[in-house]
């Protein structure tokens, strides 16, 4: 069996298409495992993983923890609010202290872009990026694309639309890298103020008319407006944003075709998407959540399989 070409999962940008296919192939088997009456396997019983979350998280943290526990790993959780980080300790020092307690793998969420890369260069551990600022969120993109392939098959030449706060979204950037590797056509739709500079250089087209964009696509990934990352106002108010870019029954009925609807969560109902659309038959939002555990199990399994095992013979 092929191996991953990387020793850490820092971002989709560092992956090859063969890596994504290997992760998907492995995730299919783990999806079967988590649907068994007893959902746990002992594969990683000799591995300890620390989840370091320097930002709030519900879904990603639970999903990673479940994935690790389903694989039989020992798990320790770290939250920056109750740690020595408050006393001025550096990220590298914090992690090296945790590693000194014989931890094998680190899952890191951090507000600063590039912090997983920094750790991978300054610590002797396997690092998984669980979101670094507005940079990348690789496992979210993997589970999004995996959910899409379950419904659309091969994503080559499929039309995928991303709607929402592209400027502040790590999910958008990771999705763009992943969809490009898988050969999909990518379009984004949002207010011009939320479009990053040079985004077209990533093989992405822009359509500010959301109805035109929805008519074009096979699936739409709806992203949240990330107010916590906004230092100024990018649009007049939520109501106007919702009227122009929020997914609602009127817009979906208007396009007269079935499209898949994804959302990485957390959802602001009534802003970027209405409850009717979230709960509609075309929504695969809960599939994404289930697939998240399988994808994270696959990533952890494949990275752990590259870590050498040694028991000293006495």
């Amino acid at each position: 069996m092929d191996k991953l070409s990387v020793d850490h999962l820092l971002g989709i940008k560092s992956l090859k298409k063969s890596d994504i296919n290997l992760i998907f192939k492995t995730a299919i088997h783990f999806k079967e495992v988590i649907n068994r009456p007893i959902k746990k396997v002992p594969t990683l019983r000799d591995i300890t993983i620390a989840n370091l979350f320097f930002e709030n998280s519900t879904r990603t943290k639970i999903s990673f923890e479940l994935a690790q526990k389903r694989l039989g790993a020992d798990v320790v959780n770290f939250s920056s609010s109750s740690s020595s980080v408050k006393k001025g300790e550096s990220l590298t020092d914090t992690v090296n202290n945790i590693l000194a307690m014989k931890v094998d793998m680190i899952v890191l969420r951090h507000p600063n872009p590039g912090s997983p890369l920094l750790l991978s260069k300054n610590t002797n551990s396997c690092i998984i990026n669980a979101g670094d600022g507005a940079h990348e969120h690789p496992t979210q993109a993997l589970l999004d694309c995996f959910s899409l392939t379950e419904h659309l098959g091969d994503l080559k030449d499929k039309n995928i639309l991303i709607v929402g706060d592209i400027l502040h979204s790590r999910v958008a950037l990771s999705n763009i890298y992943a969809l490009n590797l898988l050969g999909a056509n990518i379009k984004i739709s949002c207010p011009l103020s939320l479009i990053p500079r040079e985004i077209e250089s990533l093989n992405v087209s822009i359509e500010t008319d959301i109805i035109k964009a929805l008519k074009w696509c096979d699936a739409v990934n709806v992203l949240r407006v990330q107010k916590e990352r906004m230092e100024k106002s990018y649009f007049p108010n939520d109501r106007e944003y919702s009227m122009l870019y929020g997914l609602d029954t009127t817009k979906i009925n208007n396009i007269k075709k079935d499209i898949l609807i994804l959302h990485p969560g957390p959802i602001n109902r009534g802003v970027e998407i209405t409850s009717e659309i979230v709960e509609s038959n075309n929504s695969i939002i809960l599939d994404q959540v289930e697939n998240g555990v399988a994808i994270r199990m696959a990533v952890i399994y494949l990275l752990a399989s590259k870590m050498n095992f040694s028991i000293s013979e006495q």
């Binding site: 069996m1 092929d2 191996k3 492995t26 299919i28 088997h29 079967e32 495992v33 068994r36 009456p37 007893i38 959902k39 746990k40 396997v41 002992p42 594969t43 990683l44 000799d46 694989l71 399994y301 494949l302 752990a304 399989s305 590259k306 870590m307 050498n308 095992f309």
Partner: protein
């Protein structure tokens, strides 16, 4: 070393029919018995066994599945290779069932140990038996033996025993090489 034929298609046919007869003798109407082929190679053998059941004992209704035990193996991170999983298809509980595990070659016994641990995910069976086509004698690393055995052979450690299933039964062959 050239390939040495251990069993040709005629002998394989006779053995498969004998193994099916032994199963029927011990499990009668298969009311509380399930057959589980072990991935990857046992999945082919269970197909052959079910074909004989369908042909010779069409009134017996058999529950069967295939089991992958990759995530229960004891050699994870012990080699350069990444262990690759295959699919599992078991759409029933094995709770209180008599389970017959089916594999083509019994060698060190470690795969069977992993398979038995893996089966715990589907319930606690009443009993577990093992059926193999080939038993490589004196090569066991853990104390596991087959209840139903097609043929016992003696081999060297570096030998490979290959069971080849052709498109037609006359193309089936088992050979040894090193």
């Amino acid at each position: 070393m050239p390939k040495k034929v251990l069993l040709d298609s005629k002998k394989i046919d006779i053995i498969l029919n004998r193994l099916v007869c032994q199963l029927v003798e011990n499990h009668k109407d298969f009311d509380n018995t399930v057959l589980i082929g072990l991935q990857p190679r046992g999945a082919f053998l269970i197909d052959k066994i079910l074909e004989i059941f369908n042909k010779e004992y069409p009134t017996i209704d058999i529950k069967s599945g295939i089991l992958d035990f990759t995530f229960f193996r004891d050699d994870f991170r012990r080699s350069e290779k990444t262990l690759s999983a295959s699919s599992t298809k078991i759409n029933f509980s094995v709770e209180n069932k008599n389970v017959v595990l089916i594999d083509d070659v019994l060698f060190t016994g470690r795969s069977i140990k992993a398979a038995m641990s893996s089966m715990d995910s589907y319930g606690r069976p009443n009993s577990i038996e093992l059926l193999v086509l080939i038993d490589r004698r004196y090569k066991r690393e853990i104390p596991i033996e087959a209840n139903y055995c097609g043929a016992k052979i003696d081999t060297f450690k570096g030998d490979r025993v290959n069971v080849v299933w052709g498109e037609k039964s006359k193309d089936n062959i088992i050979y040894i090489e090193n």
